[in-house]
């Protein structure tokens, strides 16, 4: 039965018919052999019968001939002789026929040959001699004496014995052929009945096997398929291990069933993923807000402390610092948002890619399963909308970043100008210190001239001189510090310029993302339309999904670009912040 299950239906049918054909052929062979046996027996019987007829005719003719001779011997009446001679021809003719007929049978041929010998002997040695002697009355007695001598009779007796043997042989052949015929007929009947029984049995077995191997499993399969169509997915599909069409059918139905389950699972997963995404974003936003608040508080405290420590240049620095801090915060915020957006984009792109892969797989696995594709397309559309929204947001943010960068540049330029003014003030202070030093020198000289009275003044002058020297040194240090600051601000300007460039790149990227999204959207619409309009366009769906995959890959790449750009921006703004902090620390330290 297992062997039968693994055969193709065509082969099953062929096997069944082959069995019937073999049985029929066997029946035909046996029947033909029986018929040929019957024919052979008939042929033998016919030959024997013909031989018998001829031999009986011969015997009759011979006896009549002999009777005629005896009549002639007894009476000398020539009518007897005439009859003898007339019958002589007939007897000879029959004798020739007998020889010919018996030539097929070795025994008969031998018997007839012996018989011929005696027949000839009788004719030549006795009958013809007697006839010759009877022609003259003087030799009549001799002719009769030959008869009386018993010699012709002896020869005839021997002929008779042979004829008897021949008759027995013929009878034997006749009965043999009859027996052969009846046995062949009974064999024929038995074989026909046996073959018919075998054929009926084979038909029953074949019918039963085919019903069990084809009809029953197909019936079961139909009911299973109906169950699946009604949505009973826990239906057990059996027969998948079979290697025939039923097995293929079972496996196909199994694929349908798995796809349906997979579809349900995918829907659930997609829903869960969306919820998680929403939750994560919310958490991220909360954390960010908290962190910002903390930082703001900390920085306010720092600012307060710094105000206390450096009151001299606090106004300028405070302004500068506040501006820079604000810019940096903004940049930082923008960068973070960029990163988050990029990450979200990447995730979304990955999710889209995964989904499109899953959809592609699903569409490849089951062409009929268009619902999955439709769902995936819907999923995709919403994802694309999400991406679109995110990209728009990124665009807005980068716009803002550009504006902030421009205002940062202005602030830093103003800072540089302020630093220059400080330098002028320092030069002035330096000049004042030099004059103070000269004044101290003059005071020292005047004190020396005053002698003892100027002794105390000399001390004051020396103090002033020392202060002037200190002032000069301090201004020198401030100058160098200002130079450093100018260098730092130049760096900041360059950095901001770089940021500007980066943000422009981001904008370009977002523009290309936008166009990609438009394309994607169009493609998705096309897919949705195709899915809704034509269920036979699964191959097209596959290709479109391939396009979607490519576009999603592009989206992923763009997102990666955004991510790397934002990382670079973050790095640069970190550098700027560090530089500014260093600068401020040094200014404060001063």
């Amino acid at each position: 039965m297992k062997f039968l299950n693994n055969l193709k239906i065509a082969k099953k049918l062929a096997l069944s018919f082959a069995v019937l054909v073999i049985v029929t052929a066997a029946m035909a062979i046996v029947a033909f052999s029986s018929i040929s046996e019957i024919e052979k027996a008939d042929e033998n019987g016919r030959t024997a019968s013909e031989l018998q007829t001829t031999y009986l005719n011969f015997q009759k003719s011979f006896l009549e001939q002999r009777q005629a001779l005896l009549y002639f011997l007894l009476t000398g009446d020539r009518t007897g002789l005439a009859k003898f001679e007339e019958l002589n021809g007939t007897t000879d003719q029959l004798h020739t026929e007998l020889s010919e007929l018996s030539s097929g049978n070795e025994t008969f041929a031998k018997l007839v040959t012996n018989f011929t010998q005696f027949y000839q002997q009788w004719k030549d040695n006795y009958a013809n001699v007697q006839v010759g002697l009877m022609r003259n009355y003087l030799t009549v007695n001799q002719a009769r004496a030959i008869e009386v001598s018993g010699e012709p009779e002896a020869v005839i007796a021997r002929m008779g014995a042979i004829v008897q043997e021949l008759g027995t042989g013929i009878d034997e052949i006749l009965s043999q052929s009859l027996a052969q015929k009846s046995s062949a007929i009974s064999k024929f009947s038995v074989s026909i009945i046996t073959a018919l029984v075998a054929m009926v049995a084979a038909s029953f077995v074949c019918g039963f096997s085919l019903t069990r191997a084809i009809a029953a499993p197909i019936g079961r399969m139909t009911s299973r398929m109906s169950d699946l169509a009604e949505g009973k997915l826990d239906t057990e599909i059996d027969g998948a291990e079979r290697r025939d069409e039923i097995g293929e059918m079972a496996r196909a139905v199994l694929v349908f069933k798995e796809n349906a389950i997979e579809q349900i699972r995918l829907e659930a997963e997609a829903k869960r993923t969306a919820e998680e995404q929403e939750k994560r974003e919310q958490a991220e936003r909360d954390r960010e807000a908290k962190r910002e608040a903390d930082e703001r508080a900390r920085e306010q405290a720092e600012n307060a402390a710094r105000e206390e420590r450096a009151e001299k240049i606090s106004d300028l620095i405070q302004t500068f610092e506040a501006r820079v801090q604000e810019v940096m915060k903004t940049v930082n915020l923008a960068t973070n948002e960029l990163r988050v957006t990029a990450t979200s984009m990447t995730d979304t792109a990955n999710t889209s890619q995964d989904l499109s892969k899953a959809v592609a797989m699903a569409s490849e696995e089951a062409s009929a399963n268009v619902q999955t594709v439709a769902a995936a397309a819907e999923e995709l559309t919403s994802s694309i909308n999400e991406i679109s929204r995110q990209v728009q947001q990124a665009n807005d943010v980068s716009e803002q970043a550009v504006n902030e960068a421009a205002s940062s540049t202005q602030s830093v330029t103003r800072l540089a100008e302020t630093a220059k003014k400080i330098s002028d003030v320092i030069n002035m202070i330096n000049d004042i210190a030099g004059q103070t030093n000269l004044l101290a020198l003059n005071a020292t000289i005047e004190a020396a001239r005053a002698g003892e009275a100027g002794k105390g003044f000399a001390v004051v002058a020396s103090e002033v001189k020392s202060l002037a020297t200190q002032t000069a040194r301090a201004t020198e240090e401030i100058g160098s510090q200002i130079n450093d600051m100018q260098t730092a601000t130049d760096d900041a300007v360059t950095a901001i310029g770089n940021i500007d460039g980066v943000i422009n790149t981001i904008r370009e990227s977002t523009v290309s993302i936008s166009s990609a999204i438009e394309e994607q959207s169009a493609a998705t619409n096309e897919i949705s339309r195709n899915v809704q309009e034509a269920s036979n366009g699964t191959t097209e769906v596959s290709s479109k999904i391939g396009e979607v995959s490519v576009k999603t890959g592009e989206t992923g790449a763009a997102a990666s670009q955004v991510l790397s750009a934002s990382t670079r921006l973050e790095e640069l703004s970190g550098n700027l912040r560090q530089d500014i902090e260093t600068f401020l620390k040094e200014v404060r330290a001063a």
């Binding site: 007695n141 004496a145 009386v148 001598s149």
Partner: protein, 203 residues
């Protein structure tokens, strides 16, 4: 049996007085020398007919190896048949082709041959022109002095006078041979010696 015996005795008695009378009543018997070589030659001529040897040979084949008892029985049967209506043995012998032939020869002899009979190797009759008193001649001189003596033996018995015909008779017996010169049987020809004598005298 006693009845049969009486008949035989009566037959013998009836024949005996004739013989005695013939002998006594005859004047002088013609010489048996009348049966000369010429007569024997003539006799042999008609004996050469194949019917003779053919018939003797076939009877020799038939009775060739029978016992003396059978021969005696056959002889007894013959004697008995002579007085019976049904005569299987006698009729067969007397109607045989050889008997016909001998009758024809006798008829053609114009009274020269009074009786002719031919015996087989046992001395049993094969063919005869007229009925004989017995079937077996083996105990008689006509057979014993011919067949047993070999070829070319001719035995001429003493002449006897026949009262009925008033003629002298003589029985001439001789051995018969086949083509291979082997003795197969014997012949006894009863000559009418008176007629022979008359023919010789008138010749």
């Amino acid at each position: 049996m006693s009845r049969k015996f009486v008949f035989i005795l009566a037959a013998i008695l009836s024949l005996t007085p004739f013989a005695a009378i013939s002998v006594s009543a005859s004047e002088t018997a013609p010489s048996k020398d009348l049966v000369d070589a010429g007569a024997i030659k003539e006799l042999k001529q008609w004996l050469a007919n194949p019917v003779v040897s053919l018939s003797i040979t076939s009877q020799n084949r038939k009775y060739g190896s029978v016992s003396q008892k059978t021969i005696d029985d056959l002889d007894t049967q013959w004697v008995a048949e002579r007085k019976d209506q049904d005569q299987p043995l006698i009729a067969a012998i007397l109607s045989s082709p050889l008997s016909n032939y001998l009758t024809q020869i006798q008829a053609a002899s114009g009274g020269l041959y009074a009786e002719i009979f031919i015996m087989d190797a046992n001395g049993l009759n094969v063919g005869q022109s007229s009925i004989t008193s017995d079937f077996w001649q083996g105990d008689e001189a006509k057979f014993q002095k011919t067949f047993s003596k070999g070829l070319d033996t001719v035995f001429v018995d003493e002449p006897e006078f026949n009262e009925d015909t008033k003629t002298w008779r003589v029985q001439v017996s001789m051995t018969i041979a086949n083509d291979k010169q082997q003795p197969i049987g014997a012949i006894t020809v009863e000559y009418n010696l008176t007629e022979l004598n008359r023919r010789k005298a008138s010749a």
